[in-house]
């Protein structure tokens, strides 16, 4: 099996193995990066950069069974750094135009859709304002469905830290949603 082979080999072997391992989880990694960053184009750049870093360190990777987790950690750390860098730039949040998605719906459903849209809008804004570390943890927990111990292992931090970050992130997201609901009333 490819994943259990020894790392030592020719350059071609190594490149082939790297490509195969990368391709196996590429969709998952790409989507996770896009969820964290909120921008598919930047997610492509993040995946590419993570691949460059991973390829440079691939010769030192002794257990190829752990490639997925290893690459995911590189990618998530890269996304976190991109979020940090982005904090120095204006945050741009895309807001769908009113009426473009609700045309033809009954009045009560259109009202619900308007509420949902407002909630999503508030979540979008609040998520964009989260600390990069907090946003990463939220994405891993509620998008990738990882447990707290798994997130801790993935990020190389303590479980207590994960819980703390989740707590603070959810509190801020929840506050944003509550404000949105009160405004609707």
């Amino acid at each position: 099996m490819l994943a259990s082979r020894t790392v030592h080999g020719t350059m071609d072997d190594r490149a082939t193995a790297f490509a195969a391992l990368l391709d196996r989880g590429l969709e998952t990694h790409y989507r996770l990066a896009a969820v964290i960053l909120g921008d598919p184009t930047e997610a492509e750049d993040a995946v590419h950069d993570a691949a460059v870093v991973a390829w440079r360190g691939f010769a030192g990777l002794r257990e190829r069974d752990r490639f997925e987790a290893w690459f995911a950690r590189i990618l998530v750390n890269g996304c976190r750094d991109r979020l940090r860098a982005r904090r120095r730039r204006p945050i741009i949040v895309a807001i769908p135009a009113f009426g473009s998605t609700d045309a033809g719906l009954p009045q009560e459903r259109a009202a619900d859709a308007g509420t949902d849209l407002a909630i999503r809008d508030q979540l979008e804004r609040a998520f964009a304002r989260l600390e990069p570390e907090h946003a990463v943890v939220v994405a891993l927990r509620y998008y990738a469905d990882l447990s707290v111990p798994q997130i801790a292992a993935r990020l190389g931090i303590a479980e207590g830290t994960v819980k703390s970050r989740l707590h603070h992130a959810l509190r801020r997201l929840r506050a944003a949603v509550d404000r949105s609901e009160e405004a609707q009333r």
Partner: protein
């Protein structure tokens, strides 16, 4: 809103952010990652395993730390010398008893000696300062040595740091040969802060010792004792003071180098996984900038279709894989047709920092490797030969290359970061560069030694002026005849210094044909510590260069001069002095030259007027009034 609904909304929001499938463009970019990399991923250092990387880092850090800490502790820990090659037994006999004053019977009056013994005994009882003056007949005026057994035999109370031994000699013709000062560390510190008046130190006693009668020579004895009486009470204050200005200066200098390096290591080696966006083939490693007019941008936005959310991008499947540009003349910039710059090699921060540390460690090894070479005296100084110990100037390629690598790596490291890192690296280079330039400048050989230990060679006529503070030595030699003198040079800095020899031949001025300094040797010492033996005899000197001096260490050297065509063995006209020695030395592997002042005013008798042949004719030199 309930918790369940909030979680549902949150999950829905996150799923909505996820795009569709991976685009073919990304797949193509990823294919190029492995295809375009060098044969060994990450270069030679990136290909090392974690254990090797840690080992390299550890070795480099330890090497740098050992060097710096050893410098802090005066290199005693790493000073390796071939003890079998060090020195010879002292020429002076040892003492059978331990009086405070040892001198020929008729040198001082008995009353003065008894008074000095009493006063120095009182000082010893009160403060523990054992100060002795040792004046002994010498076989010739060209040698001066301390009695054997210094310092152990002269320390009766187990406190060698408070011991002083002033050494003077009496030549067979009755002229004093002056002087050596041997002292413990505490005394040396007190002297450095001015607690011991220079006029009272043994080096200044020569003029009074040369007086015609014992009563006049007693003045020298009285001055020596009075100086000790003034010095001794101040030692307690100095002892309580702890650190000296030199200690503080040395420590501050080392910290100014060490702390930025540690910070650089911590910052550079922290876990980072993101590199600047590297588009294969781009010139700068970042996204290429395309110049677009505002109107064209608006038109493009108006024409562009709205992308569907959460759908796979519909990019062309036929996008060719991107291949990194390999250099050469294949690429041209479109508008001007100029060849593109080669792509910047983006490496991880750790690579640059590791190479920086490795280069610094190599530089540290280069700087101390001289200390590991055994001093040898296999080659004897021969005054009949010119050019012994002359070292022609040469460029120090290895340290310059290492410093260049360090600078290049730090610049590359800075370039990969943002403004904070760039400013940090700039500040680091400024601080370390300035500190090192100060430290290296400070580490240059000097002869301005309070000991002023020196002896003239055969035929040298010594005269004293200004109460012994100024000394003149006159040589009357025939053309081509050698003359010698011995003195000391010292390393006053905090780095080890390797003396390579003379940088060329120094000549007398303004008439360079009177005399010149042609060779340099060094005098091994009976102990591997302070200088206790000076000799201007060539047979006592070694001509094996280089010799490395630890911080604060001294070296006794023998200077060989030679009379030129204008020298006159029976002349009465005296040339202007030979004022300095051009000493070639090495610090941190870098070779430099400095002018070291002569310990006494060196004069040579000359013909005046004197006509010498030079290329293209003759030149006549004459003193004013001739």
């Amino acid at each position: 809103m309930t918790e369940d609904r909030f979680e549902r909304e949150l999950r829905g929001f996150l799923v909505e952010r996820a795009p569709g499938a991976v685009s073919p463009a990304l797949r193509a970019r990823l294919q190029a990652v492995a295809a375009g990399s060098p044969a060994r991923s990450g270069g030679w250092i990136g290909g090392l395993g974690n254990a090797w990387r840690a080992g390299v880092l550890l070795a480099g850090t330890v090497a740098v730390a050992v060097v710096l800490l050893a410098l802090l502790s005066h290199m005693d820990a790493v000073k390796v010398r071939d003890s079998g090659q060090i020195g010879a037994p002292s020429a002076a006999p040892g003492l059978t008893a331990l009086p405070f004053i040892t001198a020929p019977a008729d040198l001082f009056t008995p009353a003065a000696v008894a008074d000095a013994e009493r006063r120095l005994g009182a000082v010893f009882a009160a403060t523990g300062v054992e100060a002795r003056l040792f004046v002994s007949p010498q076989a010739s005026g060209t040698q001066l040595s301390a009695p054997g057994g210094w310092p152990q035999r002269f320390d009766t109370d187990g406190r060698p740091d408070r011991d002083i031994l002033g050494v003077a000699g009496i030549a067979p013709d009755g002229a004093p040969v002056c002087c050596l000062t041997l002292a413990g560390d505490l005394i040396l510190r007190a002297r450095d802060i001015g607690a011991w008046r220079p006029i009272d130190q043994p080096a200044a006693l020569g003029g009074d010792l040369a007086a015609a009668t014992a009563e006049f020579r007693d003045v020298a004895l009285d001055r020596f004792v009075r100086g000790i009486e003034d010095l001794a009470p101040r030692l307690g204050e100095l002892e309580n003071k702890g650190w000296t200005n030199d200690d503080i200066q040395r420590t501050a200098g080392l910290l100014a180098v060490l702390v930025p390096l540690i910070l650089l290591g911590l910052v550079g080696l922290r876990r980072r996984s993101v590199l600047p966006t590297a588009v294969p083939g781009s010139m700068t490693g970042g996204p290429e900038l395309v110049e677009v007019t505002p109107m064209a941008a608006l038109a493009a936005m108006a024409d562009a279709p709205m992308p569907a959310k959460a759908q796979a991008p519909t990019l062309s499947v036929s996008t060719p894989p991107l291949v990194p540009w390999e250099g050469g003349d294949g690429g041209t910039v479109r508008r001007f047709g100029l060849p593109a710059w080669p792509a910047w090699a983006v490496r991880s921060d750790r690579t640059w920092i590791l190479i920086t540390f490795a280069s610094l460690a190599a530089l540290g090894i280069v700087s101390v490797i001289d200390l590991l070479l055994p001093a040898t005296k296999a080659v004897r100084l021969d005054p009949s030969l010119d050019g012994v110990g002359v070292r022609p100037a040469a460029l120090s390629l290895v340290p310059v290359a290492l410093i260049g690598i360090v600078l290049a790596c730090l610049l590359a490291y800075a370039r990969q970061g943002r403004w904070r890192r760039r400013m940090g690296v700039l500040a680091l280079l400024v601080i370390v560069g300035w500190t090192m330039s100060v430290v290296v400048d400070q580490t240059s050989p000097v002869s301005r030694n309070p000991d002023r230990g020196w002896v003239s060679g055969e035929g040298g006529e010594v005269a004293f002026g200004m109460g012994g503070l100024t000394e003149y030595v006159t040589y009357r030699v025939a053309p081509g005849e050698p003359f010698t003198m011995a003195t000391t040079i010292r390393n006053p800095g905090i780095l080890p210094m390797t003396v390579l020899g003379l940088d060329g031949v120094s000549t007398s001025q303004p008439n360079p044909h009177v005399a010149s300094i042609v060779s340099l040797g060094w005098v091994p010492q009976p102990t591997d510590g302070s200088i206790t033996f000076l000799s201007a005899k060539a047979e006592d000197a070694s001509a094996s260069w280089p010799v490395t001096l630890a911080p604060g260490e001294q070296l006794a050297v023998v200077i060989v001069g030679r009379g030129g065509p204008c020298a006159d063995a029976k002349g009465t006209n005296i040339s202007l002095p030979l004022s300095h020695l051009a000493i070639r030395y090495r610090v941190l592997g870098l070779e430099r030259t400095t002018d070291v002042g002569m310990p006494a005013v060196v004069l040579v008798a000359e013909k005046s007027p004197c006509t010498v042949e030079v290329p293209g004719g003759t030149v006549t030199y004459s003193n004013p009034g001739d």
